[in-house]
Each structure stands twice: as structure tokens, then as C-alpha cells.
């Protein structure tokens, strides 16, 4: 890799880091300030959970989309939701969802 390419990596890395750290530090300073601007803007608090929903939407698409993988996804998500509604935690619903998703994929491969 040429030095110009290393520089491109360094600038991209630094720029990405600044986008992660500067708004965080700015908000922490604002929250602790005495100027009265100590609340997070409402739109920002709404955007946070919606970003998670967007990440969910993006990750729903299977690695290799096909009728089988979409069916496995639908069944896997249903099982995840069902287990979550009973235990209300993160670990078991994910394990159950992945297990059932894998079973459907393997079953489709065998048949």
C-alpha cells in the first residue's frame, strides 16, 4: 500500500472517529452546563431508537435471499418475538431465534 493510500486510510479513520466522539463530548458538556441548555433536543431522543429500528430493517435481509431464507427469517423472527414476550431479556430470544433459523435452513437443505 502506497503512502498516499495509508494517508487516505488515516484521514478516513480520523474523520470517522471525530464523527463518533465530538458530538458525544459536545452533548456531555451541554448536559452539564449552567446555561440552561441541559436537555437533549427532543428530535435527537426520537432519532436514537429509530436508528435501531433502521439497523433491524437492514439486517433482516438474508445473506443469500431466497424463498427458503425468507421463510427461515420469518419463522426465526416469530420465535424470537415469542420467546422475548415470555422472558423479556436479550440472550434467550436471540439463541432461540438463531437456532430455529438454522434448523429451517438445514431442513430445507436436507429435503
Amino acid at each position: 500500500m502506497s503512502s498516499a493510500l495509508w494517508l487516505a486510510v488515516a484521514v478516513s479513520a480520523l474523520g470517522t472517529l471525530l464523527m463518533r466522539v465530538v458530538p458525544f463530548l459536545w452533548m456531555q458538556r451541554r448536559l452539564n452546563s449552567t446555561t440552561g441548555l441541559n436537555n437533549m433536543p427532543q428530535w435527537l431522543g426520537i432519532l436514537g431508537p429509530l436508528m435501531i429500528a433502521a439497523v433491524l430493517g437492514v439486517s433482516i435481509v438474508p445473506v443469500n435471499p431466497s424463498a427458503v431464507s425468507w421463510t427461515a427469517t420469518a419463522i426465526g423472527l416469530s420465535v424470537t418475538l415469542l420467546v422475548w414476550s415470555r422472558v423479556r431479556s436479550l440472550g434467550w430470544p436471540v439463541a432461540a431465534g438463531v437456532g430455529v433459523f438454522g434448523l429451517v435452513e438445514v431442513a430445507a437443505l436436507i429435503w
Binding site: 486510510v9 452533548m27 436508528m51 443469500n64 438463531v98
Partner: protein, 240 residues
């Protein structure tokens, strides 16, 4: 067990590590793929691993090596990489009130990816304040480490690995939607949030299916926010 022991930094960090394990189901296959794609684009194992360690943002890394491989000008590669990562600007402010002040944030925030943000925003409010810093360190370091190691393995043995266990690369990533579903599910008890969330999920899904996955997250979230505010407006009109 006394209070001090239950809040020991190591214990809290290990809790963060344990709770971020489901993220690896999505990280490892994608990191393996990135290592493989980067070497096929002419990067060495060391270079691919360095890109993962330094930039540490999945979609933009694929774009970076892809554009370099096609001979795009370096300034354009950097601009496009940064544009894809602009969405990270929203993540930090959402966590600011949940995390204590520390001089370590300038380097620790390097670990704030889409997935770590989602996990942190869900879990941090449920944890005692004394645990949160160490929890974040544990969760983000595990994810970062897995991403780097996955890239190195993908660059050295990615082809053999995917040929030997092809189904594993399809099954493991399902951990991500399953995890995110358990994170958004509690919001569905409120009608207004349910509509905004549903709108966001469908928009992100649609944008990804038409090949716009790079901009799907910010666009879909903006779409959901619009839904959220429009619904409030309609309710007000009904009340009048």
C-alpha cells in the same frame, strides 16, 4: 456479595462482554467477508486488518477497498467513506446522558458502531450508573477485537473457511436481526412509537432490497421520525 464487589469494574466489563456476544454472530461473517474481499482487491492481510482496526465501520470499509480497486481518486474514496459514516454523528449525543464523564472517551468512542450503539442505548438505562463505563468498555472491545480477528482470518483463510462451512455464514448473521428485534419490541406497546418503528423497519428493508443499503439507516430513520411527528399532528387535529 457486597455492593462494591457487584460493581467492580472487571465484573461490569465482563457483563458487557457477555451481553455483546450475540453481536459476534453478525460481526464475524461480515469481517471474514471483508478480509476476503480486501485481499481479492489486492490488499495484504496486514493492510486489510489495519483498515478494520482503524476505520472500523463495515459498509464504508467495503466501499473503501472497492473504490480503490476500481482506481477511483483517493479524495473521492475518503469523501464517500466519510459520507457513509455521517450517521454516527447521531449516536454519541444519545448516549451522552447515560455515560459518566471520562478522559478516555476520545479513544473509547472509536468502538461506537451501529450495533454497539443499539445495544448500549437499550442496556445502559437498565444498569446502575457505576457499572456503565466498564460495561461499555467490555462490550465495545469485544466487538472491535472480533472485527479485527475476523478480518485477519478472512484475509488469510476466508476462501477455505467459506467453502468448508457455507451454511454457517448464512445462519450466524441472523443473530443481528434477532437481537435488534428484542431491542425494538418494548417500544411497540405505544401506538405512536409502533407506527414510527414499523415505518422505519419497512423503509430500511425496502431501501436495502433495492441496493441502497449504504444510506438505508439514516434515510429510514428520517422517514420514521417524519411518521412520528405527523402522527402527533394528526392527533392534535382530531382533538380540536
Amino acid at each position: 456479595m457486597n455492593q462494591a464487589a457487584s460493581h467492580s469494574p472487571l465484573r461490569s466489563a465482563l457483563q458487557g462482554v457477555r451481553e455483546s456476544i450475540p453481536l459476534l454472530g453478525g460481526y464475524i461473517p461480515v469481517a471474514l467477508s471483508f478480509g476476503l474481499v480486501a485481499t481479492q482487491a489486492g490488499f495484504s492481510t496486514l493492510e486489510a486488518t489495519a483498515i478494520s482496526a482503524l476505520i472500523y465501520a463495515g459498509a464504508s470499509q467495503f466501499l473503501f477497498v472497492g473504490m480503490i480497486a476500481t482506481g477511483a481518486p483517493l479524495w473521492l474514496v475518503v469523501v464517500m467513506t466519510l459520507l457513509i459514516n455521517v450517521r454516527h454523528v447521531v449516536y454519541g449525543p444519545n448516549l451522552a446522558a447515560l455515560l459518566p464523564r471520562s478522559r478516555h472517551w476520545p479513544w473509547l468512542m472509536h468502538g461506537l458502531t451501529d450495533q454497539v450503539f443499539a445495544l448500549a442505548l437499550t442496556r445502559l438505562p437498565q444498569l446502575p450508573e457505576a457499572k456503565r463505563f466498564s460495561w461499555f468498555v467490555g462490550a465495545s472491545l469485544l466487538a472491535w477485537g472480533a472485527w479485527i480477528i475476523g478480518t485477519a482470518v478472512g484475509a488469510t483463510a476466508g476462501e477455505a473457511f467459506t467453502a468448508r462451512w457455507p451454511l454457517l455464514g448464512e445462519i450466524m448473521p441472523f443473530a443481528l436481526p434477532a437481537l435488534f428485534l428484542t431491542m425494538v419490541a418494548p417500544r411497540f406497546t405505544d401506538k405512536r412509537w409502533a407506527v414510527a418503528m414499523g415505518c422505519t423497519i419497512l423503509a430500511a428493508l425496502g431501501l436495502t432490497l433495492v441496493g441502497w443499503s449504504n444510506v438505508a439507516i439514516p434515510l429510514a430513520a428520517a422517514c420514521g421520525a417524519l411518521c412520528f411527528y405527523m402522527l402527533k399532528f394528526q392527533n392534535k387535529r382530531c382533538e380540536q
